[in-house]
Amino acid sequence: MRTVVAVTERVAETPSTVTLRFPYPTAAVPGQFVMLWVPGDDELPMSLSYTDGPSKGVTVKAMGGTSRRVQSIRPGDRVGIRGPYGNHFDLSPKRVLIVSGGSGAAALAPAAGRSIAAGSSVTVALGATRAPELLFKERFRAMGAHVEVATDDGSEGAKGFVTAVADRLLQSESFDAVWTCGPEVMMKKVIAAAAPRSVPVFCSLERHMKCALGMCDACAIGPYHVCVDGPVFPAPRLENLSDFGTFHRDSSGRRVPL
């Protein structure tokens, strides 16, 4: 079920994120993820940051041990890929607001791309800790998206949380849908901001994953399994889940604060 592929291209997107491209002809839809196996280390869920054509890609942020190890992968190195798994963004809305925190842009960029190609207008509220960490800013712009930026330290765009930018945009413009990916607390705020305007919000969630087949329960949140019922959830499904934005489960299945 796994395909071992040699990485063809490595792009340092920001100081902390790296994109790996590899041949993987299986069709994929923006929002879906793959399981990326780093032989000898671990296998991690990664959103496809490039979904179109035979060459796919993932964009990985340095977090713990394995993601750092992923970053040291060079063209020619081999990784295992299975998937794509999960559901995806509904690309039918014509006016979309994207709210991206940190590496969340990885899941959102291909959705923006296909959406604009299909004639939609896309506005991106792009957040990061500091200017160099703004992931896919140029890529979004090159697609034709309108990009507004926020950084924690104010080194580019608005200073502070990207949710403030999103809030402003939601007040000043009309949108048919909001797509968001990033820390759950951020997504919770996005949901709150969109609520008064009745704009439907779709959140892409991250949970610990093992099987990605809806079996092992590692990725359970409330009645859902993020690997098969998600990763994209309409906000109403999440709002009543006590763990959303507060708890996740670690590798042993223990509930631990986010």
């Binding site: 099987c211 359970a220 223990r254």
Partner: protein, 310 residues
């Protein structure tokens, strides 16, 4: 519609299809979800004395729709935290069976007391993990060990105890008999078959642990043989598990001697809706074959056969 409710190991089940241990069993909401999808009961993930993260990924490998290899490494939140999950499932009305694993009879007994205190209707002892060092064949590989563990547990608790037997043996029936001697109220068979996959491009085992356990349709014929042989030897009820994907598979197990059934891997292939479908289909199949109650079909294939068991 034929009656699917059965009493097995002193527990009343609304239908014979139990959620197998290790599938959808880490969180209370998932247990509750399996129950509301129609499972006759739910068995928890095997819980140990302390939290265990399990092995690193890759932990699974799938073979089309006929098999699944896993070495999760018994990840579980540990008995201190797990009662919370059982509580959620019980509040949803689920019939919950608590699965536990341990390294020796004493640890089994201590854990059993804690698990029994959560209000589960029965315990299932995982005596059969094919890939976790110290918790598999070590406790479940010989009749002597099986009997010791089961006796320690049945002495410690009052609720029914189900011993889950390994198929990685030449004599599953001998192990089942030992469980009966130890006081088990039922035996379940089978757990996964010890198995391996190798990635030829990377020249290494696929699973991080190397060896794992095979489940799914591929092991149904093996599970049926175990249940058949066990049924010939023991008087306590047998619970059939391994590769059940259809009502026909289920009925094969029942006719081989199973009074109740567990379903695991098929949840992966069909989703949790498999429970509702299995119950409906089995009831219809029993009607078609002239059985008024599932119970009437238990073990009937032994009577027809003129061939002595091995």
């Amino acid at each position: 519609m034929a009656e699917l409710a059965v009493r097995c190991a002193g527990v009343n089940l609304r239908n014979p299809f139990l959620l197998a241990s290790g599938v959808w069993g880490e969180s209370g909401e998932s247990l509750a979800g399996a129950w509301s999808a129609g499972a006759g009961g739910v068995i928890t993930k095997s819980i140990g004395s302390v939290p265990r993260p399990g092995y690193p990924n890759p932990t699974i490998e799938a073979y089309e729709r006929w098999g699944l290899l896993n070495a999760m490494g018994l990840p579980n939140p540990g008995i201190d935290e797990y009662p919370r999950e059982i509580e959620i499932a019980r509040r949803a009305g689920a019939t919950v069976i608590g699965s536990i694993f341990a390294g020796d009879p004493e640890e089994f007994a201590r854990l059993a007391v804690r698990m029994a205190a959560t209000g589960v209707v029965a315990l299932e002892l995982n005596l059969s993990c094919p890939h976790a060092e110290g918790f598999g064949t070590e406790v479940g590989g010989t009749p002597e060990n099986v009997e010791k563990v089961v006796r320690a547990v049945t002495k410690a608790v009052t609720i029914p105890v189900i011993a889950k037997i390994t198929p990685n043996t030449g004599d599953a029936a001998g192990l089942a008999l030992a469980a009966q001697r130890g006081g088990a109220s039922a035996v379940s068979a089978i757990n996964t078959l010890r198995a391996l996959a190798i990635d030829v491009h990377l020249r290494r085992p696929v699973l991080s642990h190397g060896l794992g356990g095979l489940s799914g349709p591929a092991i149904k014929p093996v599970g049926l043989a175990c249940v058949w042989q066990i049924f010939e030897k023991v008087t306590i009820p047998v619970i059939g598990v391994g590769g059940i994907a259809s009502a026909q598979d289920a009925l094969e197990y029942v006719m081989a001697g199973a009074r109740a059934l567990e379903v695991g891997t098929q949840v992966t292939f069909d989703g949790i809706g498999v429970f509702g479908r299995l119950a409906t289909d089995l009831s219809r199949l029993l009607d078609e074959l002239g059985f008024a109650r599932l119970e009437d079909a238990v073990g009937v294939a032994h009577r027809a056969s003129s061939v002595p068991p091995e």
